[in-house]
């Protein structure tokens, strides 16, 4: 089966094998794509409900909506990943049935997944031609791969050696390689699902430039993002989905933040005024800590958080912020340095130690390290606190467990049919609330949150912010790592900026602007900053 599929690819590869340089010059064939009355139902849940939408040739068309609005489902249908329950897809006015990813690719539609579909162990060039390797006498033609991948890399602004293993590249660069791969299939429609969600501001900027270039080349880009700033910058038109239904399409002129948010959530969302806070004693102190991560080897890190204070750590991806939190939390034990809570020096060798000293960490990747996806809210919410709530002989305390889960569900306003509904079926925002609820059950004095709103929709985001503020009000010391500048400025009473494993500056609330943070995050010289 596998062999046959490869053979098909090879055949296709030969069919459309223009001399690569010519192809670089040529413009993509503009094409028109539309969906008519598309519905998709899974196990009784309607993910898409009678959606009709038209994408014009060569435009950047953003599709926005809260999590669970049906964006990703619609894109999967367009890319042939899953068939619609009802409705039709038209390409150039003709009905097409996109039964598989291969068929969609053949029709020039390529999807770039949220989770990258690349093989880290293979070189860049081999990734671009994965499954469509050019051959000579039945043997993979490595020279051709090398030669033919270069122009596609160039199209996305990369001057890479195609022989470099992909695993060595930063995630932002991998994303660009994925786009190059899509271009190499001769795609005239490229769908990008949250392409910047794990990129730093600079990488995201680079990606958006590539998107603009693609438009110039006549490629249609369907762009899914929660980052409304990006949508505003890129999109010619913006379509909004809500609860699986089509809401509206806005033209470039009428696109603004408030209008988009209103269409997405169906109501207005206010930004609360900045919090007023009186000086309070230091609750949590990290002194001269060196983590085992290579980026931190050069300089030890010191920082402190007062009772009731929210300190945001800004920086580019790869600045070593998550690694710092993981070391504080005992996942990768520190090499040297000291950690104090309320003036008491504490030893943290394991995560258990950290929890016993009332530390909590909401990790960066909730699916991978935050949740047991097949379990319901109840066992997830109680998992970190089981050790504290257990009775004699390690007996589970079912009463406490139920209480913890009920508390989490009401306090975090988790939308779930019951405390046993598997969390994998919840939306990203609700999943994140379960993770936060799990740590609330341990009654932390120091709460660390790593990218707390990644992949979370606007409404839930606001709720998570409110919750973090509420916890700070009740006296917890809070440390938030975020790559979204907006979030950093909104939440942080103080902003610590890191660059390549070092703290490059600390900004008070009124000093923290997008500009001042970016200067420190990229460590550009000539900017006023005071050291910690």
């Amino acid at each position: 089966m596998r062999k046959r599929r490869n053979a098909l690819f090879l055949w296709q590869g030969r069919q459309e094998e223009p001399p690569p340089n010519d192809h670089l010059m040529s413009e993509a064939k503009p094409c028109r794509l539309s969906v008519h009355g598309i519905s998709k139902r899974f196990a009784g849940v309607t993910a898409l409900d009678d959606v009709s939408l038209e994408f014009a040739a060569g435009e950047v068309h953003a599709v926005i909506g809260e999590n669970g609005a049906g964006k990703s489902t619609l894109m999967k249908i367009l890319a042939g990943v899953q068939p619609p329950s009802e409705g039709e897809v038209h390409l150039e006015g003709k009905r097409v049935s996109l039964d598989s990813v291969q068929v969609a690719l053949h029709n020039g539609i390529a999807l770039i997944h949220q989770e990258l579909n690349l093989a880290d162990n293979l070189p860049v060039g081999a990734n671009i031609f994965l499954g469509r390797e050019p051959t000579r006498f039945g043997k993979i033609d490595f020279k051709a791969i090398r030669e033919q991948s270069k122009p596609f890399l160039k199209m996305v602004g990369l001057e890479l050696d195609p022989d470099q293993p992909l695993g060595e590249l930063a995630i932002g660069v991998k994303q660009l390689v994925e786009i190059a791969k899509a271009l190499s299939t001769n795609a005239s429609v490229i769908i990008m699902d949250e392409p910047t969600s794990s990129l730093s501001a600079r990488e995201a900027d680079r990606l958006m430039k590539v998107v603009e270039e693609l438009r110039g080349r006549g490629v249609m880009v369907i762009y899914i993002s929660h980052r409304l700033g990006e949508v505003q910058r890129l999109a010619d038109r913006v379509s909004v989905l809500r609860d699986g239904k089509y809401v509206t399409t806005m033209n470039r002129e009428s696109v603004n933040r408030d209008a988009m948010v209103r269409a997405m959530v169906g109501r207005d969302i206010e930004t609360p005024p900045p919090r007023k806070r009186d000086a309070s004693p230091v609750c949590f102190r990290v002194s001269e800590v060196v983590t085992p991560h290579p980026i931190h080897q050069r300089e030890p890190i010191s920082l402190n958080v007062a009772e009731g204070e929210i300190v945001a750590i800004a920086g580019l991806v790869g600045a070593g912020r998550s690694e710092l939190l993981q070391t504080i939390f005992g996942i990768t034990p520190k090499i040297s340095g000291e950690i104090e809570i309320e003036g008491q020096k504490i030893a943290i060798e394991t995560v258990r130690d950290a929890i016993e000293h009332r530390l909590a960490l909401v990790p960066e990747d909730r699916k991978e390290s935050g949740l047991v996806l097949a379990w319901g809210t109840k066992p997830n919410a109680s998992l970190a606190a089981l050790h504290q709530s257990q009775r004699r002989f390690g007996l589970l305390n079912f009463a406490v467990e139920s209480k913890q889960s009920d508390e989490a569900i009401t306090r975090m306003r988790i939308k779930t049919s019951s405390s046993t509904q598997p969390v994998e079926t919840l939306s990203g925002g609700n999943q994140q609330k379960v993770v936060i609820g799990k740590w609330m059950a341990t009654k932390p004095k120091v709460l660390m949150l790593d990218e707390p709103t990644r992949g979370v929709d606007v409404g839930a985001k606001q709720e998570i912010y409110d919750l973090i503020r509420e916890l700070a009000e009740s006296g917890a010391a809070i440390l938030v790592v975020s790559s979204e500048l907006e979030e950093v400025m909104l939440l942080g009473d103080r902003v610590i900026v890191m660059h390549e494993g070092k703290i490059t500056g600390t900004l008070d609330r009124d000093e923290a602007t997008e500009e001042s943070i970016m200067h420190l995050a990229t460590n550009s010289v000539g900017h006023a900053s005071h050291d910690t």
């Binding site: 196990a43 009784g44 996942i331 394991t350 995560v351 258990r352 950290a354 929890i355 960490l361 990790p363 991978e368 390290s369 935050g370 949740l371 047991v372 996806l373 097949a374 379990w375 066992p379 998992l383 970190a384 089981l386 050790h387 257990q390 002989f393 390690g394 007996l395 589970l396 046993t420 799990k438």
Partner: protein, 322 residues
Amino acid sequence: MNSFKKIAGVAGLLLFTLILAATLSDSFLSSFNIENLIRRSSLIGILSIGVAFVIITGGIDLSIGSVVCLVGCLTPFLITKWEWHPALALAAMALLSLTIGLTHGLLITKLRLQPFIVTLCGLLIYRGITRGLVADQTQGFAGGFKGLRWVAKGQIDLPGLDFGLPVPAIVLVVLAAAAIYLLNYTVWGRYMMAIGQNEKAALYSGISTDRVTILAYVICSLIAGVGGVLYVFDFGSAQPVDFGNFFELYAIAGAVLGGCSLRGGEGTIIGVIIGAAVMQVLKNMITLVDFFSSSIEYAVIGVVILMGVMADEAIRRFASRK
């Protein structure tokens, strides 16, 4: 809910094989055969409970049959040849199997070796050691030690029935109760389930994943040791070349039929015991029914397991499509 369905499924399969066997063979329902069937099902069920713990944490233990062989040969060897007091010999065997499990656990967690490889090497090593120690000679009790062997050979007369309840069934019930308690009512069981589902999330939740994983391997080997003792008590002697051969595969197959996922994090003790019973009924049926040549025993068992797993998958797909 889901686990209830799985138990119902495998119970249905057991019922089906029972009816099939009773229809095909007249002697299947004889009291002698039923008694024997319960005894053997209990023994394989005990082994399955052990391996279930390992499978639930996402691991595998291929060494069970060889541990059965090692313990099964050494027990009569120590008692008859070296004339150890039986209590001392049994204590030594418990310590031995515990050490084996601990070693597996340490190699898998601290050295990060793959469970498949570690326990595959165990499978080879323990059988090799046994054969070397006793020079391939059959070890047995020569008809003695009747009192001791009662735990495996004995039966308790049931009033009103013409057959007795084999003692291993009682051992099984006791072990199963302990296992259910550990798995469903203690933090340790919850931790094993969490590790099997998502080891990283377990680690981030403050669970000492290494310690819990080691515990699972210790339980598995310890129970394999118990199985080894019971088997040799039942048979009366053990030939190191083939004693316990394939037992690990029967135990694993029983656990999987009973609802354990080899991906970890799923499974119930009740299901596993029923799954093990299905295996034993099949074996029994092939022996009794002339229609099946006993040479094709493995093929029949393989086909039935495959059908069971396929039916499970088909039902799952059907349920998710609705």
